[in-house]
């Protein structure tokens, strides 16, 4: 498969004859990053699968209006993040579940899901991450696992770099404290 940069892919997408093929290449290029970003937020594979599909469908619908003011991958991350947080919000409102119980459910999924393989320490780390407030959790994941630059995270979340640095530092302190059991 030929490797195209985002600018070339978007140019193909704008041509009617290569539109479908170009979008297929975009999905192939970003599906894994988007999937794991979503999976870290919603934890369950089936839920992540639904959210990822919806993310790409929304991207297809909005790509005509995408003017490359942002980069394609930060734009996709933004859609994926909003879709994931909306999914959790709907889950809470649909079943009248309080915030704490949703996190508890997600934590139980961590222990029982056969598609999660983690040793005790990694499991504890995942539970610590789940104890963070939602937005802070997203910041932590993007910085810690995806190793994204603060500038890119800022583009995704619309938060200043300074605020993100502070948020990440607080998150690391909370996670460390959770794991040590203080």
């Amino acid at each position: 498969m030929a490797i195209y940069d985002d600018h070339e892919l978007l140019a193909f997408f704008r041509e009617e004859s290569s539109r479908n093929h170009a979008f297929n290449l975009i999905v192939r290029k970003y599906q894994q990053k988007i999937y794991y970003h979503v999976r870290r937020i919603v934890i369950d594979h089936d839920d992540a699968n639904d959210v990822v599909q919806n993310t790409f469908i929304k991207a297809w619908q909005g790509l005509d209006n995408f003017r490359e003011e942002a980069r394609l991958f930060t734009w996709l991350y933004r859609i994926a993040t909003n879709e994931s947080l909306n999914f959790l919000k709907k889950k809470r409102t649909a079943f009248f579940i309080p915030l704490v119980n949703v996190e508890k459910q997600l934590s139980e999924t961590l222990e029982s899901d056969p598609l999660i393989s983690a040793d005790q320490l990694q499991l504890k780390l995942q539970q610590a991450i789940l104890s963070l407030p939602e937005r802070q959790r997203v910041v932590f994941n993007m910085r810690y696992y995806d190793e994204m630059k603060y500038e890119d995270i800022s583009e995704v979340l619309g938060v200043t770099v300074g605020a993100l640095k502070a948020s990440y530092h607080h998150a690391m302190k909370k996670v460390e404290k959770f794991i040590t059991g203080d």
Partner: protein, 145 residues
Amino acid sequence: METDNDNLNDFPQLRAAGKKNPFSTPESYFDELPSVVATRIHSNKHHRINWIPRLAVIAGVLAGAVILVNWYITREAVPTTQTAYEITSEHITESGYLFEMDEHLLVEALSIESIENEFITNESEELQDFLIDNTTDINLIINEL
């Protein structure tokens, strides 16, 4: 990569846990996902096309409703005017203006009006009958002309 602000040396447990991804997917999940997404996109497209005739029907029904409402409001406007007229008549009657008026003047005005109306509406033959029935003096008519 920026590491100044997130030096893991200050967080030994976090460093020990590492960055290993604990999540996995069913086999060949990523091979199939692009075609699953494409199928959903195209089924959504067809679904949208089916909406066009439905929207046309809805627009037609709405236009009909607007015309009906407009007709109803226009029809309602006549009784409203009549009501206003009735209120005015009642007001005049109750106010006692009519009792202060000379009734001879009223009778004279009404008779002139009725004669004028008959002149306006009658045909020429009826006009002749009227003049004969009232034994009108031919000299008077000539003088009036």
